[in-house]
């Protein structure tokens, strides 16, 4: 079996765009870099993919690397977040240290998991930023983040499941409507949004549960995503 020792190789990394909604704003988790290059600047969480060790001695898959980095940098367990590969970024000069190809991931986190995120991340090194009040980002991370936001918007208009990961497990119709409005930057007529939502209910994807929730006005009915074996 021939080997492939003869090719020069790039380093390979994963970078993760971790999004959530806080204070009625779409926010992204950034890490302040301690080391050169870009020391002191903000960057997406991420790191190099392990290519040796593990079962088989060849390291971890790309998804596993993303899951590991997510856990290491945020303390979040992956089955609580929406994690999805986005795109490979491989411009020759994107990292001043040398050739690095980065696989970008999107992670969508529910706001009721904050306390854990805060506990796991060193507060001095990690912070949430509103996506339209960003600092200067290291590497090509501004481009990656832009790609992720476009992707999220496109995704949302095709697959409502993403929206549910930006909302507490028990939600009102208004909660979900706000998610759409914040991400898409538009407003929806509440009557029309409601009818759209109720179609999901009688398709069996969402179920009403007992109880109500105070909202500042008339209390709202509460719903829950139906757990399904995919």
């Amino acid at each position: 079996m021939p080997r492939i020792y003869d090719h020069p190789r790039p380093a390979i990394a994963v970078d993760i765009v971790v999004l959530t909604i806080r204070h009625e704003r779409l926010q992204v988790l950034l890490i302040e870099r301690a080391l050169e290059p870009f020391a002191g600047q903000w960057a997406l969480p991420g790191g190099f993919v392990k290519v040796e060790g593990g079962r088989g001695g060849r390291g971890e898959s790309l998804d596993a690397a993303a899951r590991r980095e997510l856990r290491e940098e945020t303390g979040l367990d992956v089955d609580e977040v929406w994690l999805e590969q986005l795109h490979a970024f491989g411009a020759p000069s994107r990292d001043p240290r040398g050739r690095v190809v980065s696989i970008a991931y999107l992670a969508v986190v529910s706001p009721d998991l904050f306390s854990r995120v805060q506990a796991a991340t060193d507060a001095a090194a990690a912070r949430w930023f509103t996506v339209d009040e960003l600092p200067r980002l290291a590497f090509d991370h501004a481009e990656i983040l832009g790609f992720a936001l476009d992707h999220l918007r496109a995704r949302l208009s095709q697959d409502p499941r993403v929206a549910f990961h930006l909302v507490p497990r028990e939600l009102t119709i208004g909660d979900l409507r706000r998610v759409y409005e914040i991400i898409e930057g538009t407003t929806y007529d509440k009557a029309n949004f409601r009818r759209r939502f109720l179609r999901l209910v009688d398709e069996g994807k969402i179920e009403p549960i007992d109880g109500q929730q105070s909202t500042g006005g008339r209390p709202a009915a509460v719903y829950r995503l139906v757990e399904r074996a995919d």
Copy 2:
């Protein structure tokens, strides 16, 4: 500036799913492997990304690598094909020679460019296969191809531009309808499809041109994609 000599690295490749329509069937271009591993089996065209040399001495971008491989293996120029990054495949054991991460691309080729494809590829080594009559594929290329087909179908239902790359530059409404029917495996009412198509015309995306085309029945009007500066 710190370097990154300390990480073991994977090799990085691009694999290209080249699709076209021939004989009323969706077809994919495959290469017969001459070397181990998988010698004698069919595989997607592709190759390793150059990581040294070129301007800056760091090699080529991922897109450039895909364009280069496409030109080398099919003789096609990239501005005649729809070329798009699909997904990164990085399972640790996907290549028996060692750790290889592959960036998959989708290339969609018009059938009127065949003669050049045939001339450029060694006929013994390259062949078109109908996508549902495939041989056993090397590596994880069956998975990559499946991903590409799903992606193509999803793309088509959102963005009609892809369809035009599967059809001669001057086309009839029937030509385009057949593309949709072949890819989606359904049939469309011709009257309804026609109206949908005509909306694109008065949105200015397509323009009628003089002349007609014989079709086996009444001759059809001919249209052309409007060239636009994006």
